[in-house]
Each structure stands twice: as C-alpha cells, then as structure tokens.
C-alpha cells in the first residue's frame, strides 16, 4: 500500500486503486504542518485521506480509535463503549489476530456513533470509521486472512471544534458551555480562565468569531457564547465568590511588559502563573489599553475591567501607571539586564485622519476617533456641539456615534462609503445605534472639511458613492459619483476609519524593527522581535497584526508568554506543537455552513436584555443586562458540543511514540 492515494475528505472520493492516474495533488489537503513536518495522510471529521508513502490505513484507523477512546468524555453509551469495541477490533486486526466479524462490528458501531452519539465527537468519528469500513473492506479482510502484524505509524492527534478553532485564543468553548448547562458556573469560569484572563470583558465586547462558526446556526441560530461567558463572569462577581486562580511562587527571572492592554495583560497573566516576576509599564493612568479607553463604558464598564486586571495583579504582576516607555523611561533601559525578556504590546493607539483637505487646519470640532474615545474615557474635556458627523463603518465608528449621543449631541450622523451590508461593525452594534436614533448615511464619503475663519468646523463636504467591482476583500469597491458633492452642515467631524501604531519609542538601531506598515516585525509563530544583550524582545497584539480584536490581543499575549518561557528556560524559540496543529486544523476549516446538522429547528437563541433607550442614552451606564440563570442554562443546552478529532500521519521524525497518538484538547 506504499503508493496508495485515497481521499474521501469532504465527500469527494479519489482512489488510486481504481486507476485513472491519480496523484497526491488530487487530494486537496495541505501536505505539511506549519513546522515543515510532511503529512502523509489524515483521518478526521470529514473522512480519510492518504497520499504519502507507507501509511498503513488500518493502523491509521486503529490509532484514530485509540484517540477516541482517550478523548470520549464518557457520558454517552455509543461513544464511551462503542469506541472501545471499535478499538479492540482494529487492534486485533493490526496485531494479526483479527476475526472475520471485526469489520462488520466496526461498520455497525460506526453507524451507531454517527447517528446516536450525544455529541459531534462521536458522530464525526463515526463518519470517519464508516468511510474506513466502506473503502477499506478488502484490505481488512486480507489482513485478517494473512494474520500478520501491521507496522505502526507515527501520528499526531488534535481535538478541536469549529468554535474553538475559530477563536484566536482557542478557548475550550464546548466544555465551558456544557458546564453552564450542568449548572456548574464557577467550574465553567475556571475553564475559561485557562485561555482568557478577561472573561467578563471579552464576554461583553468580543467580536465572537466562535458564534459565526457555531454549528447550531445551521439549525436555528448560534449558541450565545459571548453572553454565556459574560454570565459566568458576572455570576462570580455578583455572588462575591473568590476567583479560583493559582497562587504562584515568583522564583523565575523578571520580564518587562510594555503596555497594559489586552496583549500585555494576557502575557503577564501567564508569565506570573509560570513564576516570572512581571513588571508592566503603562502610559495611561489606568489598565486595559484600548479596552479601557477605546471601548466606551456603556459597552464595557471600566470598573469590571479594573476588577479583572486586579486579579492579574493579585498574581504578583506589578503595573507601573503613567509610565510611557520612550518618554518617561527609554526603551533601551529595559534591555540593560534587569529584565531577561521584554514583551512589547503597545497596540495601535493612534487614530488616523480623513486624508481630506481641511483636517490639518481644523482647530475646533475635529478629532480623530481613537483620540475622541480616549479623551471621553479619561474624563478630559471634549468639544460638544449640537450636530456631529462620524466617518467610518467599523465598531469604533459606532462607539463614536453612541458616545457623542451620550455626551449631549442631538443630531448624530454616521457616514459610510459603502452600504450597511458591507459594514464591518457588528450587526448588534448597528442595531443598537439605530435604536438610539443615530442617522446612517450610506454610500457617502467626505471630500473636505468646511471651516470658518477661526478653524472651527462648520460642515463637511460629502460625495455620493456607488458600488463598483469587488475588491481584494470581496466587497464591492465604492466609486465616487462625479459632481455629486454637497455640503452637510455640522459642528463636529470625527473620522473613525482606522488606527495606527505608535512605534516612536523604538531606537533606530535597536533589536526591534518595524515593517513597511509600521508594525513590529516578529518571527512567525514565535513572536520573537529580536534579541539584544541576551534579552529576548517579543511582541504581539495590535502592534504586530495591525488593529484587530481584543481576543486576538489576548491570544497573542498568551502565545508570546509561552515563547518567552521557552526562550528563558531552553534558550530557543519554537512554536508549540499545539499551535502547529491548530494552524493545520484551521486550514481544513472545521465549520461547514452548508452542513445538514440533523435537528429540528425548535429553539431560538436567548436574547440579551437592553435598558430602555431613553434611559441608557442619558449617561454611560451599561446598556446591556446579562442573562438570568434560566436563560443561560437554556442557551447552553442548545450547544451541540461539536468536538471533532483529527489524526495526522507524519513521517517518522520522532515526534510522538509510534502508534500512540500524542493528544491535546
């Protein structure tokens, strides 16, 4: 079977045994891991594919069954017991002691797993075993007849789920949602805290890629994962339960973190738990970075954020506020040896301008979105008139209009150059803004500011746009309609069309380099920006990726922490095997929005409650009210627990004992 090429992945069967000159390229799966390790075959939720030399498919199936035995949660009968019976059958065949009935038993129990298992771990494994029994019948029969041992291969195993794979921080969502269903709220929060140091924060403002990859939406709407996370975080706080966090001994070297935003806090959280002494330098008088001064309080109360940061400080992390690296402390000082590693997580704190005439001359009534939100958050005085125009289509633009409304602006307009369909802002945010009376002007773009003699904004000239051909992002490109310019009277204009990274603090000849987008350059999955004087400088978050998401910052900080640990303990950096497998899984895309899940559409997602509009727009009180216990449990009960398992056959590079898949969740 050395040159066997076969694939049933995704329902498309490619089979070299039936001739037709099939080559490895006919299997549309990535042929190597991100670490460079070649992949010879896979068995997983979407079938079996083998294309490399020497993969023994029966042993591949045996190892897959072993993985299921180890990862079956033990709750439902078909998976708990069926997995073991399937494994016993395949193990016998591989040991040369196969029985003629073994294949039919595998086939029968595969069908049971597929249709009867409680969750998708068993169900998808059932599909894989069914594929095996269908397409490798002759091979199994021959192996049983020959009675000889089958050589064992080397494998890596990954358990994932569509939601978990889509989450940058790979939170173990099915597990914590299931714990909510079972009423074990604090246990659920403990699971969340393994991968996320700001559960209440993320539970309010996450862009929730998990929910967009939730299989329940194929039936009747996604599980409300974000709000469920908020629910358990609120439960702990409301009930005044002591947070369950480890009490580490700080017996390892000191590490400096630049920036107390999500990435910096996350990195500090993990380093402190590993025993490092962590000092965080923060330019602002309070923690949270853009989460604190970029997200208004009505979405994310800063008291809550500060409570969660307090828990990180309780791990022994020191945060030095009002200390701007570059101004108050030169960056070079961090490289002198007191700290054995430095983590740069300065985010993207600068607002970007309109690039329209007039903005440089404007003296009053013009402010960049990020600056506007920050000044409001810090209680600084901002200009308040009657009418305001915010330009942009993202969440920051929505934050700006809703903030302006709460400051006392009466006529608040949002101008966006495409249509509502293309808006990158969260649909929920858009709906909330509309409910609050914000006026949306789609297919318009500012061309210049209209100022009076003192540089005060009087209006903004807009041009009408229409949608042309799709651009690189797949969205139709907005094209100006010539001659359609008109002036809209307004007292203030705020562009919220992006943020930029402030790397002014980096010395020119230092170890850290900026790329052509003025983002910190790091080594792929290692987050290493450079080494100077033996001090490793790492960086992650918005300053590496460009302005992205809070959860992305947390994920980057976490991964960097593990690399810093490896750097300090082993003197090297190398991506963890887990991330390599995560990257491979992501390439296979575990979520299929066209899949028929096989359930009647008889539930609907729990709805978050809002304060009445007239009440909530008066000030910055939190606009949303979390789930009740009943709502949380009911919504958690909608989770389909879509765990799925991927077994990768790798060459004999020594990673993992032959025949025994290395596993992780």
């Amino acid at each position: 079977m050395g040159d066997l090429i076969f694939s049933s992945w995704g329902g498309q069967v490619v089979d070299s045994r039936r001739g037709g000159g099939v080559g490895a390229d006919d299997v549309a799966l990535p042929k190597a891991l991100a670490s460079g390790t070649p992949v010879a075959g896979v068995m997983g939720w979407d079938g079996i594919a083998v294309w490399g030399d020497g993969v023994q498919v029966i042993d591949l199936a045996r190892a897959y069954a072993e993985g299921l035995v180890r990862n079956s949660c033990g709750q439902c009968v078909p998976c708990r017991v069926g997995s073991k019976v399937i494994f016993d059958c395949l193990d016998r065949v591989c040991s040369g002691k196969g029985r003629p009935t073994d294949l039919s038993t595998v086939e029968r129990l595969a069908a049971r797993l597929k249709d009867q298992a409680m969750c998708d771990l068993g169900r998808t494994c059932g599909k894989a075993f069914a594929d095996f029994a269908t397409h490798f019948k002759a091979e199994v029969e021959a192996a049983v007849a020959a009675g000889s041992e089958i050589p064992r291969g080397t494998y890596r195993l990954k358990v994932t789920a569509p939601c978990k794979s889509a989450c940058p921080a790979h939170l173990d969502i099915p597990t914590y949602v299931e714990l909510i269903r079972k009423g074990r709220f604090l246990d659920s929060l403990e699971v969340i805290r393994q991968d996320n140091c700001l559960p209440g924060t993320v539970g309010r403002v996450c862009v929730r890629p998990c929910e967009f990859n939730c299989r329940r939406q194929n039936v009747d709407g996604p599980v409300q994962i974000k709000y469920l996370k908020r629910f358990v975080a609120d439960y702990e706080l409301d009930r005044k339960r002591p947070p369950r966090l480890p009490k580490p001994a700080a017996d390892k070297p000191k590490v400096a973190v630049v920036g107390a935003g999500p990435a910096g806090l996350s990195c500090a959280y993990y380093l402190a738990q590993m025993g490092y002494g962590v000092t965080v330098f923060e330019a602002l008088p309070e923690p949270g970075g853009m989460a604190a001064v970029g997200i208004p309080d009505y979405r994310l109360p800063r008291q809550l954020l500060q409570h969660e940061v307090g828990l990180i400080e309780a791990l022994g992390v020191e945060i030095r506020y009002n200390t701007d690296i570059g101004t108050d402390v030169p960056f070079e000082d961090l490289l002198k040896g007191e700290y054995k590693a430095v983590f740069v997580a300065v985010g993207a704190r600068l607002g970007t301008g309109l690039r329209a005439p007039g903005e440089d001359e404007a003296r009053e009534g013009f402010m960049r979105g990020a600056d506007f939100l920050r000044d409001v958050a810090l209680g600084r005085e901002v200009f308040v008139g009657k009418r305001i125009v915010v330009v942009g289509g993202g969440n920051v633009a929505i934050d700006c209009v809703r903030t302006a409304l709460r400051l006392g602006y009466e006529d608040v307009k949002l101008v966006y150059r495409r249509t509502e369909k293309e808006m990158p802002a969260d649909d929920v945010e858009i709906a909330d803004a509309k409910a609050e009376g914000i006026e949306f002007l789609f297919l318009h773009n500012p061309t210049r500011l209209v100022l009076d003699d003192n540089g005060k904004v009087k209006g903004v000239e807009l041009i009408k746009m229409e949608l042309g051909e799709p651009d690189a992002s797949g969205r139709r490109r907005p094209v100006p309609v010539e001659g359609s310019e008109f002036v809209l009277d307004t007292d203030a204009v705020i562009p919220a069309i992006g943020q930029a990274i402030d790397l002014g603090f980096l010395p020119e000849d230092g170890p850290v380099k900026a790329d052509r987008w003025n983002q910190v350059e790091v080594e792929g999955l290692n987050w290493l920006a450079g080494v100077a004087n033996g001090v490793g400088v790492f960086s992650a978050g918005d300053c590496v990726t460009g302005p992205l998401t809070l959860i992305g910052g947390l994920a980057g900080g976490k991964e960097a922490a593990f690399q810093i640990d490896r750097f300090l303990q082993e003197g090297r950096t190398e991506p963890l095997e887990e991330w390599v497998m995560n990257a491979y899984v992501a390439q296979l895309n575990p979520y299929d929005d066209a899949e028929d899940v096989g359930l009647p559409a008889t539930t609907e997602p729990a709805h978050i409650h809002h304060l009445p509009v007239e009440e909530r727009i008066r000030d910055f009180r939190e606009a949303e009210v979390g789930f009740t216990h009943e709502e949380a449990i009911a919504d958690a009960s909608r989770c389909l627990r879509c765990y799925r398992m991927l077994l990768v056959a790798v060459g004999g590079d020594g990673a993992g004992a032959p025949g025994s898949p290395t596993a992780d969740r």
Partner: protein
C-alpha cells in the same frame, strides 16, 4: 402551546416541552434510562431516539424541544435496533451479577434488557474484575463496575441538593463517578435514590431481601415538621432500609436528608426504651405508664399549687407532629395556665 403529531396522535403541549414530555402527555411511552422527571434532561443513554420527519437522523426525545408541526415516530425496527445496541454496549461492561445485586428485580437496566430481548453479551466482554464496593460514606456503597454512567446521581447532587460533590472522572470506558474536589458529601443519599441500577446501594443493614419478598410501608418521616414521605422496606417485621420511589409525592418528591434516609436503626435498637423509667432512690427503674403519668401529673399539680403556674414551663420537640405540638401548648396554657411554652425549631 405547540402542536405536533406523535405516532399519528395529535398532541398539544406548552412551549418549551420536550418531545418526550409531549409523548408522555399523549400516553405514548418512549424507552428511557437516564431520563428522570425531576432532573433536567441528561441525554446520555441514547435510548429515547425517535424519528422526526424531514430531519436527517434520529434525535433524542428527552432533550429535543418539541416544535409546531413536527411529525414524530417513536417506534420502528431501526429505532428498536438502535436501542438494543445501547443495551448490548452497556452489557460489555456491566456485570451480570444480578443474583447478588440489591437492585435485582427493580433494576431499570434489567427491565430494558428483558423488554428488548438482549440475551447475550454480543459485543464481547471486558475482562470482568469485581471492584470491591467503595464506601462513599458509611451509608452509601458504590459498585463502580455496575455503573452505567447515566449521570443521574451527578445531576441530582448538583441540581437538587446544590452540592455537586461527584462528577464523571476520566475518559472513555475508564470513566467513573468520582468525587469532585471542593465539595463535600453530606450522605443525603439523593444519588442512591435516583440510581437506575445497583451501582449505589444502601450500606446501613446487612440483611437484604428481594423486592418481591419485602413490603414497602409508606409513612411520614418523624425527624422534623416538613413531613417528608418515605417507604420503610420491611421484612418479617424488621426494617431493611428506607426508599423513596414515588418522585411525584409532595412535599419531598423522593428527596430526603441523611436522617430520614439512613437514621432509622433506633427503631429496633436493643438499647431503646420500651417502658417508662421512674427514679427511685437515685436509680431509674422500669415502671408502668399509669405510675409514670400519675407521678408527673401529681408533681405538676403540686408545683402549680405551691409556686403558681408560672413556675412551670414547657418545651417541645420538632419530632412531634403539628397536632401534638398544638395540644402541648394548649395543655400548658389552658390546663397549667402559663404562657411559658416553646419549641426547639424556633431557636
């Protein structure tokens, strides 16, 4: 209300009901093992699979919400075979030690295996090793090899008692019900009362009897005023254990505390007082009720005459019934003439 059709019967049930509840409302039985009315659905046994028209694979009736217009079939050759396979798989691990199991004769697994005609361990047998019963508490014995991991005990401990001191530990066929760190068992026996098989048994009395040999006598728990309903399992006039099998019965719906479930041995304890004792010359000696009550009445009368009624006071017990407590205060107020009366449950 939601309207659906189950086995050609039109059913109308409140919104949010499950298919199983709808079937029950229509008088249609769907076989279950892990489901229990007083617990939220667990969904682990997969016995209650049913077909829904237009849905590509079977769904479990216990945790699938009923919807308008669903057409459900609860029985077919395929469904029966799926249920039979669940039982066959359970028997891979479950020992057939029914003759020595306390639950023999009233075991849900035994009943289902009989009903579905499973006659052999068709998927092979795990090498059987009798794991000695573990004593969860002095009152509760666990027989891990008999456990079907239905999860009822875990759910009951969490949902009904709010304790959550047990959980499923480990993975796959190695899973077992084990302690959950951070919460302590109070020996209430809720787990025991919901176990469908003999994986959790009563450890109080050595003497055992089959269910058809003993008698279940319904009574009210005497420990406090709540009035929990329980059944004394009686053989030849001796109590064997306390059970609660009727989960519909108010006020306790099958739930008891440690005293009610396990604290009954005093009933036939040899040290139990069966005759009144009267102190004579410094020693308590056995007497008759006439003598004892006569003595109490005369002394009470004497004290009242010499010192007035307020020299007397009465204190009664939570183990008395409501009626007894009423009579007691009436006695003190109307007969003795004092308001000095109190009750231990008020403290």
């Amino acid at each position: 209300m939601v309207n659906l059709t189950i086995d050609a019967v039109q059913v109308s049930v409140p919104e949010g009901s499950t298919i199983l509840e709808a079937a029950q409302a229509a008088g249609i039985r769907i076989p279950t093992l892990c489901w229990l009315k007083k617990l939220s659905p667990i969904g682990s046994c997969r016995m209650c699979v049913v077909h829904v028209d237009g849905v590509s694979r079977p769904v479990t009736a216990c945790d699938t919400v009923a919807g308008d217009g669903l057409v459900v079939t609860t029985d077919s050759d395929e469904l029966r075979e799926m249920r039979r396979d669940v039982l066959r798989l359970l028997l891979v691990r479950h020992p057939l030690d029914c003759p020595v199991c306390d639950k023999g004769g009233e075991c849900d697994l035994q009943d289902l295996v009989t009903e579905f005609g499973v006659t052999a361990k068709e998927y092979g047998t795990e090498p059987f090793e009798r794991q000695l019963p573990r004593y969860v508490s002095p009152f509760i014995q666990q027989w891990p090899d008999r456990c079907v991991l239905c999860g009822r005990c875990v759910q009951a401990c969490t949902e009904i008692k709010g304790i959550g001191c047990i959980q499923i530990v480990d993975n796959g066929l190695h899973s077992y019900i084990g302690p959950k760190p951070g919460a302590e068992c109070v020996s209430c026996g809720e787990c025991l009362s919901v176990c469908p098989v003999g994986a959790l048994t009563d450890g109080v009395r050595e003497t055992k009897a089959r269910i058809w040999q003993s008698e279940r006598v319904e009574t009210t728990c005497g420990y406090c005023g709540v009035g929990c309903q329980l059944e004394l399992n009686v053989l030849d006039g001796r109590i064997l254990r306390v059970t609660t099998t009727d989960f519909d019965k108010a006020p306790n719906h099958g739930t008891l505390c440690v005293k009610g479930r396990f604290g009954w041995e005093f009933v036939d304890h040899p040290d139990r007082l069966t005759k009144p004792l009267v102190r004579k010359d410094g020693d308590l000696v056995e007497s008759t009720w006439d003598e004892a009550l006569g003595l109490v009445a005369s002394r009470l009368q004497q004290i009242k005459d010499e010192h007035g009624p307020d020299a007397l006071g009465g204190f009664t017990s939570a183990r008395c019934t409501n009626e007894e407590n009423y009579l007691f205060q009436k006695f003190l107020r109307a007969v003795i003439g004092t308001n000095n009366v109190d009750h231990c449950a008020r403290l």
